[in-house]
């Protein structure tokens, strides 16, 4: 896994346990930045530049991880709702860190979901910039 000295252990653990992709992190931070807005999957997908189905999955995972919740409407709308004050404070720290160190955080998330052995297959790419 790509470790970085700029990522505190707590935040690394948070990312490892609750965030599966950069899109998910950006989605979470977008929800947090606009707590008064209740997002539906299609709108959020537009803001994140990913497919609506992926966004639905992403939002569902955020709810499962205690970071967001739904209101009772149809179609379902989501909003930022960390289950505890500690979690809320942690996400605040993540947001602040992400604004300053986007690349190391993104790399960390990418390496976590990418099996190391993929590097073996990548070695056979003849063009180094691939």
């Amino acid at each position: 896994m790509v470790m970085s000295s700029v990522i505190p252990a707590e935040i690394a653990r948070f990312l490892e346990e609750r965030i599966d992709s950069v899109a998910e992190l950006e989605g979470l931070l977008l929800l947090r930045r606009n707590p008064e807005i209740k997002w539906d999957a299609r709108t959020l997908a537009g803001r994140l530049y990913i497919a609506e189905s992926e966004t639905e999955e992403l939002l569902r995972r955020l709810c499962e991880n205690g970071l967001a919740t739904v209101d009772g409407s149809v179609p379902v709308r989501y909003f930022y709702a960390p289950v505890s004050a500690d979690l809320s404070a942690l996400v605040d720290r993540v947001a602040e860190l992400y604004s300053r160190h986007l690349v190391p955080l993104a790399n960390f998330i990418h390496s976590k979901s990418r099996p190391r052995v993929q590097g073996f297959a990548d070695a056979f790419k003849l063009r180094k910039d691939d």
């Binding site: 990913i50 099996p115 052995v117 993929q118 073996f120 297959a121 056979f124 790419k125 003849l126």
Partner: protein
Amino acid sequence: MNLMLLGAISMSCLVVGLFFLRAWKKTGDRFFIFFAASFFIEGLNRAALGLTKDPNEELPFFYFVRFSSFLLILVAIILKNTESRRRFRG
């Protein structure tokens, strides 16, 4: 001595092939299927050599099988270098 060596080589090839199979499962990259098949075939090739009364690698069977195992590797490399970037969505 030769039989023991052939057996050991065969077994190592099969186990390494299994590793590549697992790598395919983990990554979804079909590159690893080709490597797995390559090592499986070579493992079986070595076993066949060991089971032959007078092992002779100049027999067409053995060199065709060995070549096909390396051909699989070549195919894997070619495919790896011609695949589009569609796998990554950023």
